[in-house]
Amino acid sequence: MATLFETRKLGLPLMNLIRLEGLPILKQLHLEEELFRTSKDNWCIINDGTDDPTIVMGISGKPAELLDIKPVLHDEIPVIRRFTGGGTVIVDPGTIFATFICNKEAVPGLQPYPRPIMSWSSLIYEQVFQGIGNFRLCENDYAFGDRKFGGNAQSITKRRWIHHTSFLWDYDARNMSYLRLPKRAPEYRMARDHMEFICRLKDYLPRSTFINKTVEALGTHFSLESVVYEADKDPSAIKFMPTTRQLTREELEEALSATDLENCPAQYASL
């Protein structure tokens, strides 16, 4: 990977910065998982939009609980289970992704547990949104007031942690209908449906301004070094096997059948 430029600041830990545009979310997650598990460096990955609408569930996500599977199957929407925790999102070209991958020591005094990490990352975004909207970390979501515009998730190992966020720059309301109201929802959601619960970041600041301000805010904590990502590696050179994967059609159909059986046991009793 070639270095484009360096902005080395004395005393700040080094962080590699990868800026992408429209990378498919599965490739992004595979890249993140590989860097998280195999690299010893700190990384920031920004992906400005992804390609086709894709559903991304957390590690423990169950399609039957989280998705309206029939239209998902009918419309052939890909469903991915990622390696981090957290909830379900549907991402598309209107989603902006920002990921921080850090060694434990990268942030002095930061305990490698979920809440401290999220507190620290919210301070970065506070810098980004200073004077814009009523930004706050609302029960682990990034929100303006009580309207969520960014969902995040994390993974923590002995020596490293990753915090990644999908920001709703814009979204297609029709896509939200693939997602069910989750059983585990933050209290501030108050059973609101998606349209009443979320908001669009584009109503607050220009797209490039958001991305640049995020890089700028990060630059006050790290010495950033831009790095070029080679998207199409030779498959024989790939040594790391990620756990993030796309669910098969069969798995989704099985989840749908199990749901139907649960909802209409009498219909199946005579079979």
């Binding site: 957390g58 590690i59 423990s60 390696f83 981090t84 925790g85 957290g86 909830g87 002095p108 005094g109 930061l110 305990q111 547990y113 979920p114 809440r115 401290p116 990490i117 999220m118 507190s119 620290w120 919210s122 301070l123 506070e126 706050r136 970390l137 682990n140 995040n152 998730a153 994390q154 993974s155 923590i156 190992t157 002995k158 585990r184």
Partner: protein, 155 residues
């Protein structure tokens, strides 16, 4: 030190939480402990493993436990599974090396046992020990208590 307290205090103000954790976590005398906050109960050649009260308190409500397969191998200090809490997966690291002979299947339907009963009903795996010498590398209860105090004081 000043910068650590500064961002922690700012974050705490916004989150409306106390900067300092709750009082001292429970530490059981007869167990051994790793520096990644797992406990080990050694009974002859068999070791039961779980996470400590300190760990479960810092992690928050556990909503999912990724259990390993019975029969798989574990290595001291390496990951064997994960727990999910507060939108984060956190690795579980084995305090000993050996073969997994049992997993706590209860955790699949009741992951909260890790929080409510970290040393008893929230046990995670049982390991057939391959190297008893490794137990000597773990901390006893007194050393582990001090380790937790030092870790919390440093942050």
């Amino acid at each position: 030190m000043a910068s650590r307290l500064m961002w922690a205090s700012r974050a705490a103000f916004h989150l409306r939480i106390s900067v300092f954790n709750r009082g001292f976590a429970t530490v059981l005398k007869d167990l051994k402990y790793s520096d990644s906050h797992e406990w080990a109960k050694v009974e002859g050649g068999s070791v039961t493993v779980g996470i400590t009260d300190h760990a479960q308190d810092h992690l928050g409500d556990v909503v999912y436990v990724e259990l390993p397969e019975v029969g798989s191998s574990v290595t001291q200090g390496s990951s064997f599974g994960a727990v999910e809490s507060v939108k984060a997966t956190s690795d579980l690291n084995s305090p000993v090396s050996g073969k997994i002979v049992e997993v706590n299947e209860e955790l699949s339907s009741s992951p909260g046992l890790v929080n409510s009963s970290p040393f008893e009903n929230g046990w995670i795996i049982k390991v057939e020990l391959s190297d008893s010498g490794e137990v000597g590398k773990l901390m006893d209860s007194e050393r582990y208590s001090k380790f937790c105090e030092e870790e919390d004081a440093a942050h």
